[in-house]
């Protein structure tokens, strides 16, 4: 049982970080970022390139991932989403654009990094052994989990106490009111998108050390992120964190309890999600109808 809980907490921390970026972008711009999974994959590949191929320290790789994705995110917002949002008459258009960007990033990843599964050398060796093998956890997983939690805390503090964070929260709450108070929508939308993409990149950089990275991981990651956001409620930061940890726990518990019945964990999670949404369509902490 301790093992399952530890796995769940570890997964939950990663998932929460992914969902945070997605929900931030959604809250600010009402855009469902289909390309979030692909951004995560790019983050993983950048860390792989810097850390495993060039041979610089892992922290440099992680920082490189964060910076690369922040730039990519900012550019995507400025040159793609902003004009389309201004011009189109229905909100669905941004979804098509996001799908196009997801395919585009997939193509870039394929051309630049290839389609092979890539892994990096372990950052720390050894295994943490608690209470005579009732719980076993490799040290690198523990480190990655703590780094993820630290990133979440830094993110929350930033959103809560910095001027930028306050502006972004105001925008998410009420766009018109925020504009009237002198918040520059264009500027903070760009910062928010860059920040959301950066979070995806950081998770990619963290997880490449444990699971490795390959081209096909983008889509499923986006889908998991959508599920977390739905559990917690779209556009709400606390909801994304809750959703991430809940999905992580459910996955860990499901994998151990339902293993006897075959690979039905995600089926069970989906069915429970449907029942949950039938009772509470806006998720745990979301506003009704997003």
């Amino acid at each position: 049982m301790e093992q399952v809980l530890a796995n769940g907490a570890y997964l939950g921390a990663q998932y929460a970080l992914i969902a945070l970026g997605l929900t931030l972008i959604f809250a600010l711009m009402n855009v469902l970022n289909f390309a979030h999974g692909q951004m995560y994959v790019i983050g993983g590949f950048v860390t792989y390139t810097v850390y495993a191929q060039i041979g610089l320290p892992f922290v440099v790789g992680l920082a490189a991932s964060a910076v690369t994705l922040a730039i990519v995110g900012a550019l995507i917002e400025k040159f793609l989403f902003r004009p389309v949002i201004k011009k189109s008459v229905r909100e669905e258009s941004t979804m098509l654009l996001a799908a196009g960007i997801a395919f585009f990033l997939d193509a870039i990843i394929l051309l630049v990094f290839g389609e092979k599964q890539r892994g990096v050398p372990k950052i720390i060796n050894g295994v943490f052994n608690y209470n005579d093998f009732t719980m076993v956890m490799p040290y690198d997983k523990i480190l990655v989990g703590f780094l993820a939690i630290a990133s979440i805390i830094i993110f929350i503090l930033y959103m809560q106490y910095s001027k930028t964070g306050r502006a972004m929260r105001a925008l998410a709450q009420d766009k018109v009111a925020a504009q009237l108070m002198g918040v520059d929508v264009d500027k903070y939308s760009m910062i928010g998108f860059a920040l959301g993409a950066m979070l995806a990149g950081v998770v990619g950089g963290l997880l490449v050390t444990v699971t490795g990275i390959n081209l096909g991981m983008g889509g499923p990651t986006s889908i998991k992120a959508f599920m977390m956001v739905m559990i917690g409620g779209a556009g709400v930061i606390s909801g994304a964190i809750a959703g991430g940890f809940i999905l992580g726990m459910m996955e860990a518990v499901g994998l151990s309890v339902l293993a006897a019945y075959g690979d039905i964990t995600y089926l069970a999670i989906f069915v429970s999600l449907m029942v949950f949404l039938a009772i509470r369509p806006q998720g745990l902490m979301g506003k009704p109808w997003g």
Binding site: L32, R90, L96, L110, L111, D263, L267, M274, A278, P281
Partner: protein, 327 residues
């Protein structure tokens, strides 16, 4: 010429092109491979037509791949394991999907906008996982070497001959798909221009207002979703008969997104938009095949550029209004 005459002429010309001109052109040019492409376009446009109907009630549906997969499996299992005639499995697959859509739709159709889009996307992935997990679907190995469709006869009168006795199976499948496509879009056109269609339009514009003047919104939503899934199911069933195999990965998430793109690209305000969108996307993708590894790059760049300069669909070029253009 009156509008009515124009319309009849247009439909006549379309039927002429689909059933006479295209087979003749292919016969003359000898490009038999086009039959497969055009059959796929016809089938995909049926599924996209279904997605279009859910757009019509104001929902973004990215879950059609799930129903195409379900329809395909229903048909394959009935044909292979129970020896049911393929022609009977087409409506059965559609009905299975419609019932499933009612069950799934009752809770999730209460969601709107991005929420509904997200959960339907998840649905596609779940359909794949279900196909992997269930024993009857044969897991990752899928169901292969499905026999060709047999004879269809009523009271001893042969309507469709046994496909294994036909020398040109590709042409036969093309006709089946084309007939179904025409029938589906005729039905769709009829639905949209009926009382239900007008009510659906009211849902798209303002759900609260519609329900306040006595429109049964919950019922309408489920009906529209069931019809949409029915179309997904039959297109999946015929696809399986053509490729003669089905795997859990036959209709991945990309297909679900493509169905949605087809509708967008054709324009959401026009019944025949999905047909045009499917044709453009499918052919575009095929033509780009020659560019090798740059295929996806060019394809996605074109999509992005299209969104930048034509955010309201191809048909918006020609049609001044977006919604309810047809009188």
């Amino acid at each position: 010429m009156s509008y009515k005459n124009q319309q009849t002429l247009g439909v006549g010309a379309f039927l002429f092109v689909v059933f006479i001109l295209i087979p003749w052109l292919i016969h003359v040019s000898g490009r038999w491979d086009f039959y497969y492409t055009l059959t796929s376009v016809a089938l995909l446009s049926i599924a996209s037509g279904g997605v279009w109907l859910t757009f019509y009630i104001g929902r973004i549906n990215i879950g059609q791949g799930a129903f195409a997969l379900a329809g395909g499996y229903v048909s394959a299992i009935l044909v292979v394991k129970y020896g049911v005639s393929f022609w009977l499995t087409i409506p059965l697959a559609g009905l299975f999907c419609a019932v499933a859509a009612v069950l799934i739709g009752l809770p999730i159709l209460r969601l709107r906008g991005v929420y509904f889009a997200m959960i339907t996307l998840v649905l596609t992935e779940v359909a794949r996982l279900t196909a992997l997990a269930l024993p009857i679907t044969n897991g990752a190995r899928g169901i292969s070497s499905i026999p060709l469709p047999g004879e269809l006869s009523i009271f001893g009168l042969t309507i469709i001959p046994d496909f294994s006795t036909i020398e040109n199976v590709k042409l036969a499948f093309y006709y089946v798909a084309a007939v179904l496509m025409v029938a589906s879009f005729a039905a769709l056109y009829r639905i949209v221009n009926s009382r239900i269609g007008h009510l659906c339009r009211s849902l798209q514009q303002n759900e609260e207002l519609a329900s306040s003047i006595g429109v049964n919104t919950a019922y309408l939503r489920v009906i529209a979703y069931a019809i949409s899934s029915f179309m997904g199911g039959i297109s999946g069933a015929i696809f399986v008969a053509i490729s003669r195999s089905i795997y859990p990965a036959s209709f991945p998430v990309k297909d679900s997104i493509d169905f949605m793109l087809n509708c967008f690209l054709g324009g959401l305000g026009y019944v025949f938009g999905p047909m045009l969108g499917t044709l453009v996307i499918y052919f575009g993708w095929d033509v780009l095949f020659t560019t090798g590894k740059y295929q996806l790059l060019i394809y996605s760049s074109v999509l992005i550029l299209l969104m930048l300069f034509l955010p309201n669909g191809i048909l918006s070029l020609r049609l001044p209004g977006r919604k309810g253009v047809r009188k």
